[in-house]
């Protein structure tokens, strides 16, 4: 079947226009460069002032497999993933039938004319486009044809939806770092395709875009880059890493920006040491060595890497070494779905390593927090002399999110480090220093770091039992004392962690607790709950574990609190129940892990239902 022009028996003529409120999904083949096209669409829409989000659903593979990109366009600023798509574009012969099935009744299906769908639906508007023909006519070298063919759907969509061509050119120019040749080659195809569409397609669907003012002053970025920049602006000095999806681009962005941002103004040398380790065991042990020696140290990985770091994390916990572990979570257990998202490492991380531990986790919920926690985590780690887990995920880390421009970090906090002068002063005051002594009563001892030459500055660090002066000890009382002091440090240290964000509604009886990248789904769900179900809700977004007291207060203030999360077992709900047994019965867990970001619809369904 080949359809030269639009054909549809769907009752479109009578339908009112749907403006700035729909989802587009594009099915392509990975390795064909469709990312350029998709980002161009995303950026152009954003440039037009319309709130957008773009989510890449890609296989764990390099080339030739199906991949989808979904752009949500929403005038109200709801940018969570949706399960349903008004507009589906298919460029992949292998998935064209499935792609067609994905279109919402009444929606639009656009496909390249070399695809051979088995049958066509009559409840959708269908357009075909001569993608290969136009690509060929573009004059692009044969090697680039597939790539250029993807530009065709950009042009076709531009025409059908009314996307501003100037915005598209700006998006392309940005993508190609201002390089005119590449920009114009691609833009030429877009223009041609748009012109072809104008000539050959009769618009029969209601979807279109209109310029708005809702994105002014905002930026688009992915969470991994944001986090990387945050760390670089936060005085990161040491990075050790091992490649793993979806975390690699944290390290790769850092590496890319060291020459730009972190050449020492005085010497012209690097002020960040970055090492690609032989594995994650090495990566964490290097970072611990660096953190111990007084560098602001970080390692970045995903679930399997954290698993391999388990033993060393116990060492950092008990020997009290500052180190930041970035976990860009993906779907597990095991190798799982390496290119899908999850909030699945919560309980695991909290109890990581043998023996008694309880770890600090930070949960950025957007790119601005990814940037902020990128530097703040370093402060917290040094302040509390502890491993700090920065729990991002694939959705936040690898997809493009809207955000505010990044804000310059607060002062660097190096925590309680004593150098030669400090020790001298102490000596003059007749005070002794011992590595693990709780001088301030907050559980946080003072430390010296390697290289401090003052007499008595040196101490011996070990993962075996040690007393307040860092001497080897098997004494039972010493063991209890030191470990209870560490527990106190974690308890009191909560004040350094980002507080939860609370948003209330008048008359709300029901509370919602969530964290991290699910925020857009919650925000949108609350809107529906209020408007469609007359259910105002209060919302607390956890940004750190161990919990601030506000979390307890929030639980106490609501008879029913839904804990919404993207994992199978309701892991944050488990931690909350464990932490607040007296409030445990108020907690309703609403969780799901299928590798995809949560949708508002699913959130709503769980909250109505339970």
């Amino acid at each position: 079947m080949t359809v030269e022009t639009a054909s549809s028996s769907a009752p479109t003529a009578a339908r009112p226009a749907v403006v700035n409120d729909f989802s587009i999904t594009v099915g392509t083949i990975n390795g064909t460069g469709s990312q350029t096209s998709n980002l161009t669409l995303l950026r152009a829409l954003f440039k037009m002032g319309i709130p957008v989000s773009g989510k890449n659903l890609f296989p764990s593979n390099i080339q030739g497999m199906p991949t989808w990109y979904t752009i949500r366009v929403n005038k109200d600023g709801f940018i969570a993933r949706r399960d349903e798509h008004e507009i589906v574009v298919s460029m992949n012969p292998a998935t064209v039938d499935d792609d067609l099935a994905e279109v919402l009744p009444g929606g639009v299906f656009i496909y390249a004319d070399h695809l051979r769908p088995r049958a066509m639906r009559d409840d959708v508007t269908v357009y075909t486009m001569p993608a290969r023909k136009l690509a060929k006519e573009s004059g692009a070298p044969p090697k680039l044809r597939d790539y250029v063919a993807n530009m065709v759907y950009v042009g076709v969509l531009a025409h059908l939806l009314g996307i501003d061509l100037d915005a598209i050119r700006e998006a392309l120019s940005y993508h190609f770092h201002g390089k005119a040749k590449a920009t114009e080659l691609n833009f030429g195809v877009v223009q041609k395709a748009a012109a072809w569409a104008a000539e050959n397609l009769t618009k029969q669907d209601p979807y279109r875009v209109e310029p708005m003012n809702a994105t002014r002053g905002m930026i688009l970025a992915d969470g991994n880059s944001a986090l990387a920049w945050g760390a670089l602006f936060g005085g990161l000095q040491f990075l050790s890493w091992y490649p793993i999806t979806p975390a690699s681009s944290v390290a790769e962005t850092i590496n890319e920006y060291i020459p730009k941002l972190r050449k020492d103004p005085v010497t012209g040398k690097n002020t960040v040491a970055s090492i690609q380790a032989e594995d994650e065991l090495a990566a964490i042990n290097m970072a611990i060595g660096a953190g111990w020696a007084g560098l602001r140290a970080m390692t970045s990985t995903s679930g399997p890497g954290i698993s391999l770091m388990t033993e060393a994390v116990g060492l950092a916990y008990y020997a009290e070494v500052p180190v930041v572990l970035v976990n860009v979570q993906r779907t597990g257990p095991s190798t799982g779905l390496p290119t899908r998202t999850q909030q699945g490492d919560i309980t695991f991380t909290y109890f990581l390593s043998h023996g008694d531990t309880e770890h600090i986790m930070l949960f950025p919920g957007n790119i601005n927090e990814a940037f902020e926690f990128g530097w703040r985590a370093l402060n917290i780690a040094e302040r509390l002399q502890a491993p700090v887990f920065l729990m991002s995920d694939l959705d936040l880390g690898m997809n493009h999110w809207m955000g505010r421009p990044f804000e310059y970090p607060e002062e660097i906090d190096r925590g309680k480090v004593l150098w030669e002068d400090d020790l001298k002063r102490l000596a003059e005051e007749g005070r002794r220093w011992c590595r693990y002594e709780d001088v301030d009563g907050d559980g946080v001892p003072y430390r010296t770091v390697m290289g401090n030459r003052y007499p008595g500055a040196a101490y011996f660090t070990r993962g075996t039992g040690h007393d307040e002066c860092a001497r080897y000890s098997e004494d039972p009382e010493v063991w209890v004392r030191v470990n209870q002091r560490i527990k106190k440090k974690y308890h009191d240290g909560r004040k350094y962690l980002p507080q939860p964000v609370v948003d209330t509604m008048d008359g709300a009886q029901v509370g919602i607790i969530a964290y991290g990248s699910t925020d857009p789904a919650i925000v949108e769900a609350r809107h529906y709950l209020l408007h469609d179900h007359d259910m105002p809700t209060d919302y607390l977004r956890i940004r750190a574990v161990p919990f601030h007291d506000q979390v307890r207060d929030f639980l106490a203030a609501h008879a029913k609190v839904y804990v919404v999360e993207a994992n199978r077992d309701g892991q944050m709900a488990q931690l909350l129940r464990m932490t607040y047994p007296e409030l445990a019965t108020r907690i309703v867990s609403h969780s799901r892990s299928d590798g995809l970001p949560l949708t508002a619809e699913w959130v709503v369904a769980g909250i109505q239902e339970a």
């Binding site: 002053g217 002020t271 611990i288 060595g289 060393a312 970090p409 660097i412 390697m450």
Partner: protein, 343 residues
């Protein structure tokens, strides 16, 4: 009164906590020689840092240099730990102390990769062919066919630490024997002055679990079978080189290190060239055929770039940079923001 060195320290200034290793353990002798070498080289203990993994050998750093920083980390992970730490201050001399279990079993991967990175520290493998601290299981360097009481007979071919180091392009590879204190000490001195990673495989008998004369790791076997490649001397940068008396020319080879110090080898085999990696491999191979314990400086590449070169770090300690040199300006952030796609 105790003898002092040029910087006014006595040997006691290099001591650590009293040893809790077994009496006669080779590791104790190694400790003495580390202390002696630093004492004689007039190195301040404050300018040294100690790293280790887990094992009797890895406990050993506790028993020396209590004025030095030290980190007794995890089993097998010393190379990684040391790498991270040493990056923080390049003015410090590092000693990594490991065992054959720690290095040749659980730590094999890190051993190989710290070699590739040429991180400048002295990597000592106190090699006894067994796991001492866990009571005498075979390690990967144990002789094939060795019989031990609780373990039975070892069926596997041993791993040779020096061969492994050479295979992966280590820039300083030496083997010695805890029962040959002079050689141990001189090799340590040379190693301290090496520009990159210096691997020293020290046969260090475990008197409790593997000291029967038929074992290559016993004092008796090693003493009886030691074949030194050369008599080795070390001349620090500030000293005149004196080649010794009664030597025929050609018997002596001197190797200039990056900092101006010199290693002087009075060679047993004139032809042995310690800058010939392949020759070193051959010498090891032959030593097995001849059933001897070959000791000495097997190989050195004094000029290969080290990790500091590779990472292009400033000369001053990274961990002392003031915070204002650690973060880009507000303008730099504005440039980032401006460089992002914005609406």
């Amino acid at each position: 009164m105790a003898r002092t060195n040029a910087i006014g320290l006595t040997k006691a200034d290099y001591k650590g906590a009293p040893t809790t290793l077994c009496q006669g353990c080779g590791h104790n002798s190694i400790l003495s020689q580390i202390i002696a070498s630093l004492f004689e080289m007039n190195v301040r203990p404050e300018d040294v840092v100690k790293f280790s993994g887990i094992g009797c050998s890895s406990k050993a750093p506790t028993y020396m240099l209590s004025r030095s920083f030290g980190f007794n980390g995890l089993h097998g992970r010393m190379p990684a730990l040391a790498t991270g730490a040493l990056v923080a201050d390049r003015t410090i001399k590092g000693i990594g102390m490991s065992g054959d279990g720690d290095t040749a079993s659980i730590g094999m991967g890190h051993f190989k990769h710290v070699i590739r990175r040429n991180v400048p520290f002295v990597y000592i493998v106190a090699n006894n062919g067994v796991y001492g601290l866990t009571k005498g299981q075979f390690s990967a360097t144990a002789d094939q066919g060795l019989y031990l009481k609780r373990q039975g007979e070892n069926p596997y071919m041993p791993i040779d630490i020096c061969m492994e180091a050479l295979a992966s392009n280590a820039t300083f590879v030496a083997r010695t024997f805890a029962g040959d204190p002079k050689q141990v000490k001189t090799l340590l001195k040379a190693a301290f002055h090496h520009k990159g990673l210096a691997v020293i495989d020290i046969i260090s008998p475990c008197v409790t679990f593997n000291n029967r004369p038929e074992s290559r790791y016993s004092y008796e076997w090693a003493k009886d079978h030691e074949a030194a490649l050369h008599q080795i001397d070390f001349v620090p940068p500030e000293e005149e080189i004196w080649l010794g008396e009664g030597l025929e020319p050609g018997e002596v080879r001197d190797i200039r290190l990056h900092d101006g110090s010199t290693i002087i080898l009075k060679q047993v085999d004139e032809d042995y060239d310690p800058t010939d990696r392949f020759g070193a491999i051959k010498a090891i191979e032959e030593s097995y055929a001849q059933n001897v314990l070959l000791t000495g400086l097997l190989y050195i590449d004094p000029e290969a770039p080290n990790i500091y070169d590779i990472l292009d770090l400033p000369d001053e300690p990274l961990n002392r940079l003031p915070t204002d040199r650690l973060r880009p300006s507000a303008e730099a952030l504005e440039a980032i923001n401006a460089g992002l796609f914005h609406a």
